[in-house]
Symmetry: C2
Subunit: 461 residues, 2 copies
């Protein structure tokens, strides 16, 4: 079993008996993981799986005896306030739990039809959701999404941000070095750097515009003040499953087994603070005031139908052997569509639809997740369950696919006009920025990631 093989859980004919969500993000082919609690009550945070408008309360279903074998073990590992124990278990457990949930939540599946995807073969599984009595048992474990709050679903040990879009790197580089925008290492090294884990917050968490030191144009001395060039970065986040021991690299052919799933990720950036602070050791306070994740983790297994070949441009160097794998070339990239929208405070007040800033796809990235894992560990660095890898800003090949305002406005020179007539170079107080992501292709059921949304509050005096 490998993570990119299709199985019964991907069957486009499957429909759930649970009412679908309006956005169509959470059909039975998706089954993403999150951590939730009801808003009205003194409940603990616990793991759940989104299905339509509902969430399967994994702790409740496990207590009710609805899982068996490895699926039950996986559900127990997801019953606490963080999903790290589930992430540590690895693909066989994740797959057994997914297969069990899929069977139980499918309309018209009888128990005899199950057993694929590691569930039956591993001794896992679920009770049959097909009969009315069993379905009632499952229904008692559902919690309406509209009644809950969601949180960052994982205790993030270390967070690493990469720079995998050659288009983003080129667009940014061009602003500083018009004749030579791309660094000589770019097509050889999956460029990455360490980020701040503590300031990762869940979608919906408003944050204050950061204060910081900046050197104004033509100024002789810097000053402290509110950031004047606040930007978003349209990224995806990858949660690591089982980790590796310090000193033991993960070969690229095994990297897939260490990937749990994806979230949407907004790496908010203070461009003016960054410009003054980043030499010689990289971005710091320009990034660590807030980073927004979507609450649901779409698993690698759910993404199997949307894996695509990585097409390295003609004439580009062949990757070094530790970054090169035939299977990864054929199936290592993911066609995940991504979109950014902006609504000003005035637009929000008047109920106006948000303005679409850009739409792109993760398939344009220059490095695959497996290459990121192989590179990150080639020196012996140890990854742990729940570590977060950011893809970097996922700008596509054309300007309307750019994933940050610094690109869309060419460094603040060309303002964007919003529908109501307002203009933007960088973000203003009251702006709400929402990132969304989804997968779709002919012959597969569309799955969605939900969103990563936040509103910019004024700087604190």
């Amino acid at each position: 079993m490998t993570a990119h093989q299709l199985n019964e859980t991907h069957d486009p004919q499957r429909r759930s008996w649970v009412e679908p969500d309006a956005a169509g993000d959470f059909p039975i082919q998706n089954l993403p993981f999150g951590v939730f609690r009801r808003r009205d009550g003194n409940e603990g945070w616990r793991g759940g799986v989104a299905i339509g408008k509902q969430i399967v309360d994994l702790a409740a279903a496990e207590r009710a005896g609805l899982f068996e074998g490895t699926a039950a073990e996986a559900a127990r590992a997801a019953a606490g306030p963080v999903l790290n124990p589930l992430l540590a278990l690895g693909p066989a457990y994740w797959s057994a739990l997914r297969a069990a949930l899929s069977r139980a939540l499918t309309d018209g599946v009888d128990g005899a039809g199950g057993g694929g995807a590691g569930g039956g073969s591993e001794g896992g599984g679920s009770t049959d959701g097909g009969s009315a009595a069993e379905r009632d048992r499952w229904r008692r474990c559902l919690v309406a999404q509209e009644a809950v709050e969601l949180t960052v679903p994982v205790a993030i040990g270390d967070y690493t941000d990469f720079y995998t879009s050659v288009h983003h790197a080129t667009n940014i580089g061009r602003q500083f070095r018009p004749d030579n925008p791309l660094m000589p290492n770019y097509k050889w090294v999956p460029i990455g750097y360490h980020g701040r884990a503590s300031s990762v917050v869940v979608s919906g968490t408003a944050f204050h515009r950061p204060m910081g030191q900046t050197l104004g144009p033509g100024a002789a001395t810097p000053q402290l003040g509110p950031c004047k060039r606040l930007d978003y970065e349209l990224e995806l986040g990858i949660y690591i499953g089982p980790g590796n021991e310090l000193g033991s690299p993960i070969p690229i052919a095994e990297a897939d087994q260490h990937l749990f799933g994806f979230c949407i990720f907004n790496d908010w950036s203070a461009r003016d603070i960054q410009a003054w602070e980043y030499q010689p050791l990289g971005p710091f306070l320009s990034k660590n005031f807030a980073s927004t994740v979507s609450p649901w983790i779409v698993t690698i297994e759910a993404l199997a139908p949307f894996r695509v070949a990585f097409e390295r441009p003609e004439g580009d160097p062949k990757p070094l052997a530790y970054l090169d794998d035939e299977d990864d070339r054929q199936r290592g990239a993911f066609d995940i569509r991504i979109r950014a929208t902006l609504a000003s405070a005035a637009m929000t007040r008047s109920g106006q639809a948000p303005h679409v800033l850009s739409v792109s796809s993760y398939r344009h990235a220059y490095w695959t997740p497996a290459q990121l894992v192989a590179h990150h560990t080639v020196n012996g660095c140890n990854l742990a369950p729940g570590d977060l890898l950011g893809t970097g800003t996922l700008s596509g090949p054309t300007l309307d696919q750019a994933g940050a305002l610094i690109e869309l406005t060419t460094g603040g020179k060309n303002a964007i006009e919003l529908p109501g007539g307002e203009k933007r170079t960088f973000l203003e107080d009251g702006d709400t920025l929402a990132l969304s992501a989804w997968c779709e292709r002919p012959g597969a059921v569309r799955i969605g990631f939900g969103e990563a949304r936040a509103t910019v509050l004024p700087a604190r005096a």
Copy 2:
């Protein structure tokens, strides 16, 4: 009560009834914290305090009823496998525990003499160690240091490395930009960047020479291979106590209350990997294969006698207001002596004394710990108990005070000769690098930090 005030625990007349250690690192004026377990047994890791050749088992002493009030609460918080709960409590608790231990372990103190340093006034304290019966109760809670192993004493949430030695920054910068070695931001911004927490290991942990991508001199394409320019960095680490909420900066005048203590820190660096990977986002795989901490944390309170004024060189700019504080100017710097030694495999085999590479002091740093905390949080970034701040390589004003081989050998151009005739530009397999630190001045008792030591193993094929 502030962290830099002297109290009875600093009294140079105090002597412990516990036998002193040979190095003289752990007199009763020190009382550093660590996490230990006996080597021969199935014991759990737990917190302890070094005194002479012994460790006070805090869990055992607490269970035996030897602490009262806030001191007992602090001891309970230090009884588990990581010290984070103790760090979260804050200075009043740390101080009560220290006062209680100092009274109990002092030779010839009677109970009436205690009560200072928050112990008595906060309702804390300890039973009198002066009587033979009480002393026996304490003695039963001592564990010989030679019988234990020590570990990283804290679950490090996030690790940030700073760059606080202007001499190091100048020495490194000169190798790249002889006419203009220091970046324009250096004297305004306490330069820092995020590091990797998972690869922080305790003194004594050998590690393999990292593999990595490098571009050889004159080469057209990079290759993967063992690092050829492996270096050490002589640093100190600062453990954060109570943290701050996201969005709520810590003012410089309050920063001291958030500092728990210091360890020795070796930020091993692969210079050839760094040179090829670090543009444009900073060091990554060149740093995260291993970072070595000393096992004992010397508390801020223990360091009170060694705080000194920060002397900013004449003509340098005055710090911006958020980094400027009268008390910090007068007492914000620490005169912590630091030393690096190297022993080759041949020297180790023949029992030869290690070669001293350099000796310096942390007092030469350009930014104080309080300035680092104020800067780190000015944008709202949240620190948490157990976060680790590295000071950066602590090179002093002269070349023999340099804290890394890249400086001592001028980028590998001038080899160092070892006592047996071997030469070194960078580290070779089998080399053992040991960092030590201590404080001494007339009128105070010398206190030591122990050491951060590790041996370089060959790269894994």
